[in-house]
Symmetry: C2
Subunit: 390 residues, 2 copies
């Protein structure tokens, strides 16, 4: 029932256990939905209540622990045996007296793991401070270890099966951005364009269903182009304004983000044209540089050198690693393309380079989502890297 072969999950679990050993973790409590999915296949919008996948060095299979009504969802979407799907009663949900972490602690006690080194994802959304407090209170003899991003780092190099999923997401991304360029016109309401974009995202292709993105369509027009994370209203697009788009194609929670800028007119303002020229050329040069063996910070350095002749300054990171994800973020929280990140880029990493520029008066966004090949990189989609005017 899960979307990959069981052997794929087993390999992921093996590598996770290897990393646990290196970091001194005996039992890992995984709260991030993408990590839960990665290890077991679990796929439900149930992450608004506390739940976890638990991986232990001395047990072959992980366990899914969640709310009663979601247990059938775990049975339908994971490869786990019945014994490893454990459900808590509904009165644990948003209660002042009971907490789902008490249930999880009870399971750890029954397994004899309450004196072990327990890893938790300390800076992941979905692992709240109270989760920690209740776990610690319920397991006074355990030693807690920060296993933040442990599974995220296991995810960083993609398998061939994952690359196939990402390429499907790329095909969907082409349709999504085509739809956006077609539907965004002077006089059209932003919400109506957003509706067509979402439709394209969910529909996918004739062969493959699209999926919901971990970030909804970000689409800024007019004065909103000074910032990257706004959405849409009833407002109608006006002549001679720019529209920044950060969208994604998604297949089975695997993301191929695509960002472009549309100018609704034939004469973009001088600052935008000049910024676009610098950014487009800088991105092309950076892409020529990216290959196995270079480091994340060297990629950013290549970009900075490529735009050094101009007045364009990009203060935020140039990009990051992506793959499987759930709201609120499609970023993997592993590699960041910025000074100080010395991660060596290797084959089958997948990076999202997004040199977005947001000035007070005007913004410009373009991107590339690339898979690292043995000798360089290749885009997940075919779409020109350019400023679109219409």
């Amino acid at each position: 029932m899960p979307v990959f072969d069981v052997s794929e999950y087993k390999e992921r679990i093996r590598r996770t256990k290897e990393s646990m050993q290196e970091r001194g973790v005996d039992v890992l409590v995984v709260s991030q939905p993408a990590n839960m999915n990665y290890l077991t296949g679990y796929d439900g919008w149930s992450f608004y209540v506390h739940q976890a996948v638990v991986v232990a060095l001395d047990q072959e299979e992980p366990m899914w622990l969640g709310r009663g009504m979601d247990a059938n969802g775990a049975r339908l979407t994971t490869f786990l045996s019945q014994d490893n799907i454990l459900e808590y009663a509904d009165d644990y949900v948003q209660s002042l007296t009971k907490h789902p972490m008490h249930f999880i602690a009870d399971v750890l006690k029954e397994k004899g793991w309450d004196r072990k080194r327990v890893g938790v994802e300390m800076d992941q959304f979905y692992f709240t401070h109270r989760n920690y407090v209740e776990l610690e209170k319920s397991l006074p003899n355990a030693t807690f270890v920060d296993a933040n991003a442990l599974v995220n780092w296991v995810r960083v190099v993609k398998s061939e099966a994952e690359i196939t999923f990402l390429q499907r997401a790329g095909k969907i991304a082409e349709r999504v951005v085509d739809t956006a360029v077609r539907e965004i016109n002077v006089g059209v309401r932003e919400c109506d364009a957003a509706a067509e974009i979402a439709r394209a995202q969910y529909r996918g292709t004739e062969e493959f269903a699209g999926d919901y993105p971990a970030i909804v369509p970000l689409m800024m027009a007019g004065e909103a182009t000074s910032t990257p994370h706004l959405t849409w209203t009833e407002r109608k697009y006006e002549a001679d304004e720019a529209v920044l788009l950060e969208l994604s194609g998604v297949y089975r929670h695997y993301h191929a983000p695509i960002a472009r800028t549309i100018f609704l007119g034939s004469e973009p303002p001088k600052l935008m044209r000049e910024t676009a020229d610098v950014v487009l050329e800088g991105l092309e040069k950076t892409l020529e540089f990216v290959k196995p063996g270079v480091t994340a910070e060297q990629v950013e350095e290549a970009w900075r050198k490529a735009i050094a002749h101009s007045t364009v300054v990009k203060e935020s990171r140039l990009g990051y690693s992506i793959g499987v994800n759930y709201p609120p973020d499609w970023g993997e929280q592993t590699i960041s393309l910025r000074p100080g990140d010395k991660t060596v880029i290797t084959e089958n990493m997948v990076l999202h380079l997004i040199p977005g520029i947001w000035y007070k008066e005007v913004g410009f966004e373009v991107d590339a989502t690339i898979r690292i090949t043995p000798s360089g990189n290749e885009s997940l989609y075919e779409y020109p890297i350019e400023l679109i005017t219409k």
Copy 2:
């Protein structure tokens, strides 16, 4: 620029400060996106990085504290003065050495609030355990207070302006469920139906833009009807199967959820028909009971009595309070309709009653989203409470 009158935000802040005084909180660090929006109008998909709205008893206006690139978003969507929009540099993002809570702690120090009683939302997603650890380390003289759901409880009674927004969401909900009933047919791919539903959600009405829901369309068919939180694939709907739908109309992040069950055939199985009869009648009777003065647990009791003659058992809570929200949940995390919740229901509360039943073989979902009126309640939308066959 924010969507409500500034006076509305000021009243919300006044009531928040009142609650802070009651709970012994001098300075409140608000992390939940819906709470940030409620207090300031802030509306951006930036909650995948750490950010906060800070409310202090000794300062009139709250402060927005977030990532540099989102500060213009705060300027565009909130009523806050320039001085109260404070941004951190990009190298705080997902760093191993710096943390956005250091920035927030620095601001609190500069304000002279570092010996105060600091409230944090200890069990809200978006307030991670590490957020707490870093704040505590940076503010050794502060006393930390659990202010979990403090603002959520201020939100529980809706203003007239909010009721108007919720009624607009209700109008959108009617279109969303109409679309679903029209598009879900034998031979149609689930993803294509989901695409039309999302399109209707984002589009809204001729007058009002729709918005992205805090929960994507939940739509379970065939054996997936045994569980409530799955989505869609390429799978095609088959004859004589049930489809459970939990959808929502959304206006400016205010939600009117609507759940219905479609049976794709003229003869639903006996268990489903019988379950539907009991649940529909039980819901109608419960709605007759709900009015100001009764308690949350009495509402659930009325439901339980109404179905006591049958074999139907509903183990999970009957419903909860709703209003403004962001992913991952449209529930407000305040009132739960279940034994033990003694909250007295009052005018202009808005409740989502969803007596969903998920058996191993078959499920049934229906709901009502109601505003409490002076003498009873009224639905946010006009849509028959029935099992839909087609």
